[in-house]
């Protein structure tokens, strides 16, 4: 079990780290998709299959497409970003800040004695129970999320469209 977890972790972290370091945005994005798939695998490993499928469906099915489209729509020729001093210094300071945070977090995790019920079997939560939970105690949140998604959709359409509202739809 733990072995599987470590493999999955390595996949996730490796993909993510390489993605963050690459210059080629497409490759970065594809690697990140791999990383997300790893996260989905992690969910599967942890027994949350519904979440895992949702992760795949949304991240790999939808967000990845958005990312790729964004990349393609914003290409500035094939010339990669030049390595200049500002970007270097930014990289270094970023690394320092990230390292700081990592240090703090890792220190906290390692130093904190968790009272853990290391259950061998994953807790069983059927889709039906999950649905009941969503529609029962969390119904309001669900509605709010629905609203958020609608608004985000409309907002994104508005932001991304450069057509002025008075311009007619170009009919073929």
């Amino acid at each position: 079990m733990t072995f599987a977890l470590i493999i999955i972790s390595a996949l996730i972290l490796g993909c993510a780290a390489v993605a963050m370091a690459l210059r080629n945005l497409i490759h970065s994005a594809l690697l990140l998709i791999g990383s997300w798939a790893g996260v989905a695998a992690f969910y599967l490993w942890a027994g949350a299959e519904f979440v895992a499928f949702a992760q795949i469906l949304i991240y790999i099915g939808a967000i990845s497409m958005v990312v790729l489209f964004a990349v393609l729509l914003t290409r500035q020729g094939d010339a990669p970003e030049p390595v200049e001093f500002p970007s270097l210094s930014r990289f270094v300071t970023g690394l320092i800040a990230g390292g700081g945070v990592a240090g703090v977090l890792i220190g906290a995790i390692l130093g904190m004695p968790f009272d853990v019920r290391t259950a061998q079997s994953a807790p069983a939560l059927s889709v039906k129970e999950l649905g009941a939970q969503l529609m029962g105690p969390h119904a309001v949140s669900l509605l709010v999320i629905g609203l958020l998604l609608t608004v985000a959709l409309l907002g994104a359409v508005l932001l991304a469209s450069d057509r002025r509202p008075d311009q007619p739809e170009d009919t073929p």
């Binding site: 519904f50 499928f53 795949i56 469906l57 099915g61 939808a62 790729l68 073929p172």
Partner: protein
């Protein structure tokens, strides 16, 4: 008695054979073998099916177009032997594909160029894992099987993108973008059109959904979902979305030969091309299977007295029927333009699927109506879907006339 015994045996025969094989393996590898056999079985069955579907398509299209279709290929070692109605054509094609030169463009992203066909086949095969092929034949009995199906299906988009981008060919890329736009557009109505099923059946498990359709009125009127107003509408919507999702005619723009020189497949040849081809047919078959499972009662027999035929045979029969239907559609309808395609998705399919969802909610709320109220229930349900259909349909075509081409006329 005997018939019943044979019957029940046939029903579990594939499982029994698998278990028999597994028992011969060493203990630690048993689970692996168990799964491998399942996979191999699926691959074998559906691979064969894949082999003959294009043949059937070509022959059928030929008939539809008043010609014969492939009927020449006989046996390789027997010159002037029997032609076997061209049944060996798939094998000839396979050999040709395998032996063809594999061309990779110099500027291509080699890794991705290679990964794309592999992934696409892998992803489209993944979906078969959760289809209930028979009463006892469920490869993976997932609780959230339906979600899994769509999750796996959506991953193919990634492969399409990779294929388009890795080719470093602007036509490929454009075609890939178009394909993606289309697939994403139709994923929404596809998913939404099956949500009513989930609502009525109350489960995401495909096996449970099939079981929920396992009743007959008077013994010969099956309770398949397709035989309800919402179910019928959902089935049609599903069908259209599935056609678009699998890039089939009349939605086959991504690989429109005349416009985009086969789209994202331009830079592929040989076996890689065959893999894409295979993935397309696998996807189509998987969607047919899903449609059968969701709407057409899955492996359930249409009449109670026909249950003696093994359930997996029923399933396969229905799938093949669906495939033939798809072929028929391909031979009948004209290809859409991209704007017509997207407009159809967003202005027609999505609203209609949403309304159908409401329709299913109505159906579920009025489950208790009996007697004459039943008629009312049917009437209202029909009205809920037919009236928006007519209105939306009218709006869709309002003010759109057949396009006239100025230079083509004279």
């Amino acid at each position: 008695m005997i018939i019943a015994a044979i019957d029940s045996y046939l029903e579990v025969a594939p499982l029994a054979w698998r278990d028999a094989v597994v028992q011969w393996c060493p203990e630690p590898t048993q689970w692996l073998v168990h799964h491998l056999i399942t996979i191999v079985a699926i691959l074998a069955v559906f691979g064969t099916l894949f082999a003959f579907t294009p043949l059937a398509e070509r022959k059928l299209l030929g008939r539809l177009q008043n010609r014969l279709g492939p009927n020449r290929s006989g046996l390789p070692w027997w010159q002037n032997g029997p032609k076997l109605w061209g049944l060996t054509q798939p094998f000839a094609d396979a050999v040709k594909a395998l032996t063809k030169e594999d061309i990779v463009p110099a500027a291509a992203d080699k890794l991705l160029h290679f990964l794309a066909p592999v992934l696409i086949v892998a992803f489209s095969l993944l979906t078969f894992a959760v289809l209930p092929f028979g009463r006892h034949l469920v490869p993976v009995g997932l609780d959230a099987a339906l979600l899994y199906f769509f999750a796996a299906g959506s991953a193919t988009e990634l492969a399409i993108f990779m294929a388009g981008w890795a080719s470093r060919n602007k036509y490929s890329l454009l075609a890939a973008m178009r394909a993606l736009a289309q697939v994403i557009s139709y994923e929404l109505p596809l998913i939404l059109s099956v949500v009513p099923i989930v609502l009525i059946a109350g489960t995401l498990s495909l096996q449970d959904i099939v079981l929920a359709q396992g009743f007959w009125t008077f013994g010969f009127l099956p309770h398949w979902f397709v035989f309800t107003p919402w179910g019928f509408a959902g089935f049609l919507l599903f069908l259209v979305s599935a056609l678009a999702e699998s890039n089939r005619s009349p939605f086959d723009l991504p690989e429109a030969e005349s416009e985009l020189i086969a789209g994202h497949l331009t830079e592929y040849s040989g076996f890689k091309y065959a893999l894409f081809f295979m993935a397309e047919y696998f996807g189509l078959t998987a969607l047919s299977g899903l449609g059968v499972t969701l709407f057409l009662g899955g492996w359930q027999a249409p009449c109670a007295f026909l249950q003696f035929i093994p359930s997996w045979l029923w399933f396969m029969g229905k799938v093949i029927g669906m495939l033939l239907l798809f072929i028929w559609i391909r031979g009948t309808l004209l290809r859409l333009r991209i704007d017509q395609l997207t407009r159809l998705a967003w202005q027609f399919m999505v609203p209609l699927t949403l309304i159908n969802l409401g329709n299913a909610a109505f159906w579920s709320l009025t489950a208790g109506w009996t007697g004459p109220l039943q008629l009312v229930r049917w009437g209202v349900s029909l009205a809920i879907i037919v009236i928006p259909f007519v209105l939306l349909g009218r709006r869709l075509s309002a003010g759109r006339h057949p396009r006239t081409y100025r230079y083509a006329a004279s």
